[in-house]
């Protein structure tokens, strides 16, 4: 409660002083609201925005951090209130979860992005834009991949079925985190479900609980794997815990986020013998997108910023700093970057929609973890 009030207060203050610099003579200040973890804040606040301001000195940026999405509802309410009052909003750019973008769509809160507004948008693969109804601009992505230690795994599995066979042949040497605690575990669970159903049926906007009976064989499969998992069916707490097991060589194979795994390898936190690879059918992944409120008073500046974010220069910053995938198509990236990501930068499966995912998490807990 108090946190929400404090955030509202901070946002109010930012709102008041942030737009203070607007004027014909001075530089234009863009208010950039970013939802994420500290690594994403550093990406924007210490790298992307300073580089942008250096290149386009007519713009200043005011950075607002929404840690793990804290206060997002307030931001949406604020944009909506401004729209209803017929005023401009001081939120010029917002990185948020798709659910908030969806909520604001009927009210026409967002700018539909086109190449006329942002020329570099032509470099973004069309299906990524379609997935957001052209309301979100993907600027970084990641997917879950298979990590394995080549010191112990000589013939890495190439398909999901191969992985399952490997787990059964090497009991105790595979781990995925409790899906309730991290996306890398969710991806393995979802891969098992997608083995038996059409991914597209559960990734779209429709929701029908009756369709979930088709998941039954997946729970059976995962339940059978319990005894072959690390520590006789213990599912670690979170993405990081799995990476630690991998680094201590307690397990030889695991599902991990591509960006976290790459980052750990770069920092020497994983043995050099650990390799990351996408399997077929691929584990899931997604893009982080930024959305432009239609009520922004500085649309021209925001489009300038977004166009720059899609340049190789800015995309290189994203890759270097958070080991993400670029928002633009790989062909626009230098050959060295493509080589670095060659094994993981493959298409990934779609995330199930949030209601199906919630049900999968509950059923996994009941049918897999709870069946021991």
């Amino acid at each position: 409660m108090t946190v929400a009030v404090a955030i509202a207060l901070v946002m109010f203050l930012f709102g008041v002083f942030g737009s203070g610099g607007v004027g014909a003579q001075g530089p234009v200040t863009l208010n950039v609201y970013i939802n994420g973890d500290t690594n994403i804040f550093d990406l924007w606040n210490k790298s992307l925005l300073p580089a942008f301001m250096k290149r386009y000195p007519q713009y200043r940026a005011n950075f607002v951090a929404l840690l793990h999405g804290e206060g997002s509802q307030g931001v949406l309410d604020k944009i909506l209130a401004a729209k209803q009052a017929g005023r401009t909003t001081d939120v010029d750019l917002w990185e948020t979860q798709p659910s908030f973008v969806t909520q604001g769509e009927p009210q026409g809160l967002w700018v539909k992005l086109t190449t006329a507004l942002i020329p570099n948008l032509s470099r973004v693969p069309t299906q990524k834009l379609v997935a957001t109804d052209y309301y979100g601009m993907p600027y970084r992505g990641s997917s879950v991949v298979l990590a394995y230690n080549t010191a112990f795994v000589k013939n890495p599995p190439k398909t999901f079925d191969d992985v399952v066979a490997w787990i059964k042949a090497n009991p105790g040497k595979f781990a995925y985190c409790d899906p309730n605690t991290g996306g890398s575990g969710q991806a393995f669970m979802v891969a098992a479900v997608y083995k038996f159903v059409q991914a597209a049926q559960f990734a779209g906007g429709t929701y029908d609980p009756k369709a979930e009976s088709a998941w039954e064989p997946a729970w059976q499969l995962l339940k059978d794997l319990n005894s072959s998992m690390y520590n006789n069916g213990f599912y670690p707490n979170g993405n990081v815990a799995v990476l630690q097991l991998l680094s201590q060589q307690n397990v030889y194979m695991a599902s991990v986020w591509s960006d976290m795994g790459t980052d750990y390898l770069k920092r020497g936190l994983l043995p050099k013998t650990v390799k990351l690879e996408q399997i077929t059918p691929p584990l899931f992944g997604g893009d982080s997108t930024v959305t432009v409120p239609a009520g922004s008073a500085h649309l021209e500046g925001v489009f300038q910023l977004l166009n720059w974010v899609l340049t190789p220069e800015a995309q290189q910053i994203v890759i270097n700093q958070v080991s993400g995938y670029p928002g633009v198509d790989w062909q626009y990236m230098p050959a060295s970057v493509r080589a670095q990501f060659a094994e993981v930068a493959k298409p990934y499966s779609p995330l199930p929609n949030s209601q199906y995912l919630a049900d999968m998490l509950r059923l996994w807990h009941e049918r897999v973890a709870g069946s021991k």
Partner: protein, 289 residues
């Protein structure tokens, strides 16, 4: 007249002082609790003002949730028992022995009270995990196989005990301070041994503190979240974690509220014992006066 006026003024002042906590109680606890209970009594689909226990039947029909409820009660009872068995001797020692060691111990035992629960939990994890200190010592002592100490009920109990001992010792100790030395000496004089003295003199005189300790510990551990979340396993889980998962992960508000009401009713039974033991003390005091 003047006196009546002053009385009224004092009453108003008293009311003004009580009002803020009372409002907080009503608007942040009573009202949400009632609305939650109403939610749990509304059948899914929510057609009309019918009342039914269908949500409760559904929750209790889920094997996983029954397991979680049983697990929570068991872990709580075991934790309370261990805390009690360890803290009573400590409280007695601190009360009836006066040496330099007692003084140092009296400061040391209270340390966990100042360690945030999150830090205590992570400390316990590093201490108890596969390659942790405890495992290494056991292994060096020649134990090749021993039960897992963390990410299960054992881990939760160990951490709860570590965190809860200071509070138990403080309350038990406060009660023991009130016991007249002469009563203990008298028991010794007529030939009672240590155990006899404890069960016939000290425990009956300290029964209120004992009951308060037991009931408050039960409710605190029963409703805990951080320790079971960090130190517990995948399944079964304690209700604090289960309720959070149902609310935030599985997007099932009604089930979460239903579990909360069930948890509340279990805690309420213990709460009644607490109220009875406290009010008995107050009646007892009045008799003495």
């Amino acid at each position: 007249m003047d006196r009546a006026h002053r009385g009224w003024k004092q009453g108003a002042l008293g009311l003004a002082l009580v009002l803020p906590p009372l409002l907080v109680l009503v608007f942040l606890i009573v009202v949400p609790a009632i609305s939650a209970i109403v939610t749990t009594l509304t059948p899914p689909g929510g057609s009309g003002p019918t009342t039914s226990f269908v949500n409760y039947a559904e929750v209790l029909a889920t094997r996983m949730l029954r397991a979680d409820i049983g697990f929570t009660v068991t872990v709580t009872l075991v934790s309370v028992a261990v805390v009690f068995l360890l803290s009573y001797p400590l409280a007695l020692y601190l009360r009836f022995t006066r040496t330099r060691a007692t003084a140092i111990l009296g400061v040391l035992f209270i340390v966990p009270l100042f360690v945030p629960v999150v830090i205590a939990s992570f400390a316990m994890i590093t201490f108890l995990v596969n390659h942790g200190l405890v495992s290494t010592i056991l292994y060096r002592l020649g134990f090749e196989r021993f039960p897992r100490l963390v990410y299960n009920a054992t881990g939760i109990v160990i951490t709860q005990v570590w965190v809860n001992i200071p509070f138990a010792v403080l309350i038990l100790g406060a009660g023991l301070q009130a016991i007249d030395d002469s009563l203990v000496d008298a028991a010794r004089d007529v030939g009672a041994g240590s155990l006899r003295t404890f069960f016939s003199v000290i425990l009956p005189l300290n029964i209120t503190s004992t009951m308060i300790t037991l009931t408050l510990q039960f409710i605190g551990i029963f409703g805990s979240f951080t320790i079971p979340y960090l130190v517990g396993g995948n399944a079964p889980q304690m209700l604090g974690v289960t309720m959070t998962d149902y609310l935030t992960q599985y997007l099932r508000r009604t089930e979460s509220a239903t579990l909360a009401v069930i948890a509340f009713m279990i805690a309420a039974v213990v709460g009644v014992i607490y109220v009875l033991s406290v009010s008995r003390r107050e009646r007892g005091e009045r008799v003495v006066r």
